[in-house]
């Protein structure tokens, strides 16, 4: 799974950072970006989905792995 923050939409609500600090980091202005090129480590998929489902700006996008 990969996660991506649309920087055009992000307004720095910091919801993703509060819910999944393993996956997101914020700059001095509170603007978020995905850590590690957005690669979601195994076991953190639910946290990625939680962050996506709590973003008021709909700025977080998830790419699911192709069904194996």
């Amino acid at each position: 799974m990969k996660v991506r923050v649309d920087s055009e939409r992000c307004q720095g609500h910091n919801r993703c950072y509060a819910l999944a600090p393993e996956l997101f980091e914020v700059d001095d202005y509170g603007m978020s970006s995905a850590r590690d090129d957005g690669v979601v480590p195994a076991g953190l998929e639910d946290k990625a989905r939680l962050a996506e489902a709590n973003c008021p700006e709909f700025a977080i996008h998830i790419e699911e792995d192709p069904a194996s």
């Binding site: 307004q11 910091n14 509060a18 202005y29 489902a53 709590n54 008021p56």
Partner: protein, 404 residues
Amino acid sequence: MSENGRPPVDDWSGDYDIFHADYITDPAPIWDDLRQSCPIAHTERWGGSWLPTRYEDVRALARLVPELSSTEPLVVNPPPLPDGAYGGVVAPPISIDPPAHGPARRLILPAFSPQAVERHEPFTRELAHRLIDAFAGRGRADAATDFAQQIPPRVIAHLLGVDEEQADTFVVWVRGLLEQGLTAPEIRFEARTNIIEFFTEQVAQRRDEPGDDFISGLLAGELDGEPVPDVHVVGTCLLLLVAGIDTTWSSIGSALWHLASTPSDRKRLVSEPELIPTAVEELLRAYSPVTMGRVVTEEVVFGGVKLQPGDRVLMNFPGANRDPEAFAHADQVIIDRQHNRHIAFGVGIHRCAGSNLARMEMNVALSVFLDRIPEFSLEDPAAVTWAGGQVRGPRRLPIVFPVS
């Protein structure tokens, strides 16, 4: 029956009154009706305005820049400022539009980053304990005036580097500006003048003797590569008061009102304190305090209505957060709600810059309160009073609790 001498509201879709007792005490049923019958309502009252009630509409309208301007963020049409009322002082960045908005916002955001806000957490926790110490032995308290209302002004005073005693005066000024002042212009002018004169003096002091406080930080900052003018700093301090005080105390008060009236939720948070941050988001959704105003600058047809230059549009974040199209069981408070894209802090470029600070204050206030006073209930539900309009929350909240 007339409402304080105003005509009664027979038709909420075409003649709503945001200062009507029903709208202040329990607005959710009104929004629910409007969403079905007339999702963007209109009124001629209080200078005239439009009231969207659907989540998607409020989100879209909040992002409609530059067609909707933030130069008049109040929910009513304020009378013009008289001479001597410092008409040139605005409150950047909340009351300005792009392109000046971006630099003004970047100036203040670092002071409210998650890391910056964490530095105020120990003070907030000590303050919450100190406030409870004062009434813990009495078995009764006003959770609004003795607790909720005390926290944000003292945190703001701490952040500004001014004497904590100043906080009581801040409360008088903010209520004068945003509560009584919206319907009584002379109170608003007086409050505004006092705030501006106070901060003009503070800014001059910090120019001479900089500290590590918010004001000194702004003075050391840059606005688009240029030094920050004093009048800009004064305006931003004005913003800090009007945006950071009655908003957060309303949220803390509404949360305590909910927990005092809903024993099952209160007991669950006492036994599962790790759930408090999730509950805070749900309480923010269900009892969003803030409605902001925008003014139309160019004609736009939206949602079947024609918004014309000069029209006021209310950013009904509280109503949007009760939309069943956006939230399952929107009318219920589900304290462990997992999917919660609420917009209590707004959305788009004017997202509340202090949202991390507000969330920290709410989390600390609730966790300390539930730890110290795990059992409490309303002394008399009829004695609870609410303020509303721009900012909604309880103003009298008498509770009783067992003394251990």
